[in-house]
């Protein structure tokens, strides 16, 4: 990164199956509580078959939580996003300020599909039927605007949709806006809600596990679909005056690469993941040996975990830093994954933590490396790498570093 304008993380907001807010989330992690269970709200024929990491609040409960009184249609994607952004704003100490200059970059994969897919069957039978307002929230940009309007954010507003790397790319773009001097404060991350569309989509590819997922384990059978939202407050160092106590860490590097091998599978040599991680480290100006912990993409699918493992070995050697996937906790939250995991990674730097990779028992043939199995509190965390590798070969990595690094 040629610009010397430092990008600092001053706030985090998170909601997922394992907690509303950071405190609940951390408690669940320490208690090794997996978030994937029998689903309560999503209507699907698969409800008894696949455990899903659903946020345990109905849409109405989320509306209450977010103090939304309007009778307008809100997609669940918007509601989850509002809940997370609310926490992020408070944690950055921005709640009493005018936020009109704050920019908002959000990632999601299927926007308000949770509503439009409920409209569709009636419409399909008779195209004059169905509650049309459910379609008005379908597109990816709608939830971004809904969230921005709720908080009065009207700096640079846009939406990124690159499947599982959406939120990571949103965070990257937010940082670049700050470095280019086009923004001082950016709220960036992602949100996605459970839908029959994505559940059936991944199931048609036969990569959904009937048990809690087992990233990097040789018997792994696929992912657990999840939902949620994770957002960071990114700020230029010179715009934090008076709120220095809110500084969590620095977003010190990022990388984006396209695997360009196949629409749904990563190349055998893990090219895209390797290049994304390498670029992220180079942009942070650090060597692989300086990374303290890797929060892996680790979905629990055969292809991802093997190729991500190979890419890690290529870059870090066969004795890499501790690495783990937190998806047995949160599920794979698609467009929100990069944001939720950015929150986990940023807080790992701040508090000095390594998260465990649940459900790992059997070494995968073809990999010489093994994930971290226990939660660790340690004061030797300097730099954390967070990976988000998506369908279509969109691979992105972020580096978070201690704020006071030289």
């Amino acid at each position: 990164m040629s610009s010397s304008r430092k990008v600092l993380v001053t706030g985090v907001g998170i909601i997922s199956a394992i907690g509303t807010g950071w405190t609940e989330t951390l408690n669940s992690i320490k208690e090794k509580k997996s978030g994937a269970e029998k689903v309560r709200f999503l209507k699907t024929v698969h409800r008894e078959v696949f455990p899903l990491a659903e946020v345990p609040n109905s849409d109405d409960e989320l509306k209450s939580l977010c103090q939304i009184q309007s009778a307008n249609v809100y997609s669940r994607t918007s509601l989850l996003g509002i809940a997370a952004v609310k926490e992020a704003i408070i944690s950055a100490g921005l709640s009493d300020l005018d936020l009109s200059d704050v920019s908002f970059i959000s990632g999601n994969s299927v926007g308000g599909m949770d509503k439009s897919e409920n409209f569709y069957p009636e419409f399909k039978a008779d195209n004059s039927k169905g509650k049309i307002s459910l379609v008005s929230v379908h597109d990816c940009g709608e939830s971004t605007e809904s969230i921005a309007l709720h908080f009065g954010l009207s700096g640079y507003i846009t939406t990124i949709s690159t499947a599982c790397s959406s939120a990571a790319n949103a965070i990257m773009f937010g940082a670049r806006l700050i470095k280019a001097g086009l923004a001082d404060k950016v709220i960036a991350g992602g949100t996605d809600s459970l839908t029959r569309f994505t559940l059936n989509g991944f199931n048609s590819l036969m990569i959904v596990d009937k048990q809690s997922c087992r990233p990097f384990d040789s018997t792994r059978a696929g992912l657990n679909l999840g939902e949620g939202a994770g957002f960071l407050v990114l700020e230029a160092e010179d715009s934090i005056a008076g709120r220095e106590d809110k500084i969590i860490c620095e977003l010190s590097g990022y990388g984006n690469s396209c695997d360009a091998f196949h629409q749904t599978a990563t190349s055998d040599t893990g090219d895209g993941p390797y290049l994304a991680m390498k670029e992220a480290l180079e942009s942070a100006g650090i060597n692989p040996s300086e990374i303290s912990y890797i929060n892996a993409h680790g979905t629990g699918t055969g292809n991802n975990d093997l190729t991500e493992g190979i890419a890690i070995q290529r870059l870090f050697g066969t004795n890499p830093p501790p690495f783990s996937s937190t998806k047995p906790y949160t599920g794979h939250t698609l467009g929100a994954a990069g944001g939720i995991e950015a929150v986990l990674s940023a807080m790992a730097v701040r508090n000095g933590m390594i998260y465990p990779n649940l459900n790992f028992r059997n070494q995968t043939e073809g990999l010489e490396i093994t994930p971290a199995l226990e939660f660790e509190s340690t004061n030797s965390i300097s730099h954390v790498l967070s990976n988000s590798f998506g369908f279509g070969g969109n691979d992105s990595s972020l580096v978070f570093s201690k704020a006071d690094r030289k």
Partner: protein
Amino acid sequence: MIYINGIGNISPLGTYGRNMDTSAEPIFENHFKAAEPAYREYIDPKLIRRMSRVIKMSVASSVIALKEAMLEKPDAIITGTGLGCLQDTIRFMDSIVENQEQLLNPASFIQSTHNTISGQIALMFSCQGYNSTYAHRNFSFESALLDAFLQLQENPSKNILVGGADELTEVSYTLMKRLGYWKAEQSNPKDFLVADTDGTLAGEGSTYFLLSGNKSPQSYAKIKDVASFFCPEKEEVIMSKFQNFIDRNKVEPEKTILISGRNGDARFDDIYSKVEQELPTGRMYTYKDKCGEYHTSSAFALAYAANLLNSHNDTNQALIFNQLKKSNYSFILIEKC
């Protein structure tokens, strides 16, 4: 400086690289319809079979743009698309209903994600560089453009493929009709911009640009600035942002062509009159009477502007102005090389 070194444009006006025929009759059948080329000229026939319309349009227009710029492959690919791969999204939704969520074929799900467009282009050129997709209504193309702009400022020797693509399907047309987007069925594509009735006419298309910090013999124009503003219900704010935009870019009305995103929707078009008054250029063109209304129509507008600019001797800049429902505003400024 950011140069447009290649353009590939598949639109209701026709399929173009250079020498866009701006006076051609757009294809119109109740809505503006993209005049698609014989795709086998641009894409291996074996691959065409599995591609949806929007993918074919995007891949082909990328091939045209790259060919114009005389390059084998780009260093980065950035796409803007408001609604993504609609045809495949609807196909998969149909199959979910028809088969009650059982034993579904993954093909349409795989192609339904918004980033499939950028992904397929990357596969076409074996490009492992930066790859992203913006999906935010009428900001989609502008965000892709800004992303490329920032990258080229830092690294001028890169060649970046940037585009905007949206397809119209029967289902999406019907849904947007029910949401009150379109004019009455009998509307005339020739006078809908001044009809003083609610609604507009639907369109579609794909336009890709090869941008670089390096000037080439093929360069059409320089991109000077791109800005998008989220300003719901705040007309005074947008007028002041517009003033700011023309001031900081030292835009001279007498030397500027204004390209207006007027779409004939009487509920919102008055804002264009206000902007036109702020910048009395005397040279005002509309573009949605050539491509119709869709989220990434500003990509078409940019291709149109690049062609128009070079056909006028007494101007040196073109300013594209577009808005959606008096909430989302965007400006793109280009200059002669």
